[in-house]
Symmetry: C2
Subunit: 509 residues, 2 copies
């Protein structure tokens, strides 16, 4: 496992080289659609973070590979191609098959699995209580589960790349889980799937599509309603704006005014040099957009991952608000940058647009099926206007990848419109958890759909906060949210055991 | 539309020519797996039926074509290929979008749609009561909905043929229905899908996978449990046997003894000529198996379509039982053949194995994913032993089509094991209707899974009897079954209207 991260960073520059054209447009696209990860991974890649720690898993975590079907929905000879899919099992807490002890499954999402395992505290924190087996499955086309072995090879190949989508990924999970249950003779062990962000969407969809494999799902910060026109386009950035406004009205107003200030300076002779100096950028700015995109991403990340004890939005705003007296607007903004990132020799304005594996993969996913219309109008947020125009998006994807997105496929396959009307008498055992400060919560399920399709949210929570490892310093509302989730899941499992017993007694009778 | 049937019968001989090798093995396979059609279509192809009537639809039925996506689960450039999918709408009874009047949808199955429309009485019989729009959608790769235009072209192309499967077909239905609802501004009109036999499986699976498109499903004679080892292999032939035994113990015993009699005569010098003469076969028998397969298929068809007022099992048995005194066993069997088929100049022993479109298509489907392990041991039925041996089946499919079946895919994607445990607290609004005399009912859902996943069966009913047009001569139990189904569906729709109103009121409040 140790070699994964070193491998990843070996091929990143290569990837950059191979995909220089497509990636630049791909990451442009991506910038418009804030990343959906449970943790702010991008920070890992900052220039001051060059001592990247390789996550090392304890010996309790065993890594396996499953010979996975490349195409589950096709029967031509090529679709019989297999690829190796990685999954990890922790047996330490499991009560065993004979007691039908449950299986908690983390559904990997748009990143290498190995990086997620240590941060999915929900599994390890609750395994002893449930005597649960822990299974982590990597999403196809990430980490160690990439057909053809490497992302560049997989993405170069138009045919192979086509199989990189959510329906195939869900079928992968079904196959792996049925295989694992069979191997462990754990036929009657209930499976609870847990996912975060995009992985949270997958978790809720998995329970909906494969109820015979998963008894229930915890879908953390899953914006399953951010498709078509279900959620207003500006939902995401309105929430970012609200977070800043609530933290400090002055901070909010300063940011709001800053964009035209940047443009004003940029339009001066040597304007970009002035800006580069003013913001201590690691390399000379190529455009004012480079700076604006950087700030845009920084504010969004601060809001999305606005978690205790640091509360990054408060950090940014305290920098802005407490800047030296007499600071001008841009001086205050830079003070916010420092406060958020810490004192550095320089600030890397390209940090959010570097092609990580997640960036490359997610660009493809958003350009094929995960079309989330995230935009903003003029004056409806603290940001400059940047509406989502579907035609432009399609054109851009087409020029990057050569194929058009299918913008309505997600709601065709998974639904989303009138979700309460549709699901209140269909399906069960899904928790949609959210923190309302997370801008993605605007596309989440925030009301109970029925007595067992439940919305569990906190007013102050951020993106995927509930599934991160519990800390002593956690605020009471976060502790309460997790307790609530655990008790709901416990209820599902108890009910399942009672059903199992009743059906056995019926058969014996 | 008139041209469809003539076209079909124009290319049938061609098809036979093109596929002579593969078809003969394919139909061999097929013989082992009784056909799953709502009506005994094969009878249409008997030599005395050469005045094939072209089903002509009244002007109330309008035919349309939808530009359908060939591959819904892939984003490579080839998957953007489209094909024309046929669907038919009858507007005559519809109350319109403004009253949210319902939409009844027949999901086409393994046959050209045009032949099914007149026999799906459930839709036309109940449309006035519900003021329902009627929509009939053809299954991909049948009738007028074949990519590349013709079955031979589609089946010759290994890549195209790969997209011929149930998951793709369900996605087709979802796309067509969302499109039709959109065109008619019928956003809030509830959709009830109806399917029969394989189409009944599709209907139940469609409600399970696309609850946001269909409010409910009537799954008539859908053997969704005839996969893996859920249903005993001999379920089908045990039921055929039981039907005959119940009709006449003497008849049953005669058939049971007949197989070795056939073998005995066949092993004599000129044995096949003797048998050919004895059974007045239209062409000289090539083997004793040809005769045995013919009889096997005839008994199975009689049991499967054992419907009032004629009750074919009774017809066969009355021939056997009332044969001239002194008739030997084979004389009695032949009397059964005459009684079932009527007096003919000769009897076509190949009638059940001729490659109709259904035969070709279904052979592919069973050899890819629809692996139904139908077999029988020695002495557990009135037939000679013919166990289903998965390895042999796989080999045979591989040699016919070049690809291996995926025998566990159906239960992986749709479930089936422990169905009550899985679905009693998940899903709603499915009627599993069966007639217990139908041998396929052995793989059907015969107990209520919950208060709204209901098994509605009749003890005397046959395959798909409930969805055929109501007749004045229908027995009371059939009338009662249909009434029950209609009232259940009415309940779903009323509940849906109430939910719709409540949600609107909530929003307005």
């Amino acid at each position: 496992m140790d070699s994964l991260y070193s491998l990843l960073y070996q091929w990143l520059p290569l990837l950059l080289l191979f995909f220089s054209t497509s990636i630049s447009s791909a990451t442009n696209l991506h910038n418009k659609i804030p990343i959906l990860s449970p943790l702010r991974r991008t920070n890992l890649l900052g220039p001051d973070d060059d001592t990247l720690s390789t996550p090392s898993l304890s010996e309790d975590f065993k890594t396996y590979f499953y010979e996975q079907t490349l195409d589950h929905f096709n029967y031509n000879p090529q679709s019989y191609t297999k690829f190796k899919q990685s999954y990890v099992i922790n047996y330490k807490y499991w009560g065993g098959a004979s007691s039908n002890s449950p299986i908690f499954v983390y559904l990997g999402a748009e990143a290498p699995l190995v990086g997620d395992i240590p941060i999915i505290g929900f599994l390890t924190d609750n395994a002893p209580r449930f005597k649960a087996l822990l299974v982590y499955i990597e999403h196809r086309f990430y980490g160690n589960s990439i057909p053809l072995g490497t992302m560049e090879k997989a993405m170069e190949n138009e045919t192979i790349r086509g199989y990189f989508n959510s329906a195939q990924a869900l079928a992968d999970y079904a196959e792996v889980l049925l295989y694992v249950k069979d191997k462990l003779s754990a036929h009657n062990s209930p499976v609870i799937v847990v996912g975060a962000s995009y992985g949270g969407m997958l978790a809720s969809w998995f329970r909906l599509k494969y109820p015979h494999v998963a008894l229930g799902a915890l879908a953390s910060s899953a914006p399953i309603l951010y498709f078509d026109d279900i959620t207003p386009q500006n939902g995401y950035y309105s929430r970012v704006t609200k977070d800043f406004k609530e933290a400090s009205e002055h901070c909010y107003r300063t940011i709001r005014k800053s964009w035209s200030e940047i443009d004003k300076v940029a339009s001066k002779p040597n304007g970009l040099s002035i800006l580069s100096q003013k913001f201590k950028t690691c390399s000379h700015l190529n455009s004012s957009s480079e700076l604006k995109d950087y700030l845009d991403s920084m504010y969004s990340a601060a809001a999305q991952y606005n978690q205790p004890p640091d509360y990054p939005v408060t950090q940014v705003c305290s920098g802005i608000d407490k800047a030296d007296k007499g600071s001008d607007i841009l001086g205050r903004i830079f003070a916010g940058v420092i406060s958020y990132n810490g004192n550095r020799s320089c600030y890397d304005t390209l940090v959010y647009s570097r092609p990580t594996e997640t960036m490359v993969g997610w660009s493809w996913q958003t350009c094929s099926e995960m079309v989330m219309p995230i935009g903003r109008g003029s004056n409806d947020t603290m940001f400059p206007a940047s509406p989502f125009i579907l035609e432009d998006f399609i054109k851009s994807c087409k020029s990057t990848f050569g194929v058009s997105p299918r913008p309505h496929w997600i709601t065709t396959y998974y639904g989303g419109h009138d979700i309460k009307l549709v699901l209140q008498r269909f399906a069960s055992n899904i928790i949609f958890s959210n923190g309302l400060r997370d801008p993605y919560s605007s596309g989440g399920v925030l009301e109970n759909l029925s007595s067992n399709l439940l919305a569990v949210y906190t007013v102050k929570g951020s993106h995927c906060l509930d599934i991160l490892p519990a800390q002593k310093s956690d605020p009471w509302w976060l502790v309460a949210q997790r307790k609530n989730e655990v008790e709901i899941i416990e209820g599902w499992i108890k009910e399942y055991y009672a059903d199992l017993l009743a059906i056995r007694n019926e058969k014996d009778a």
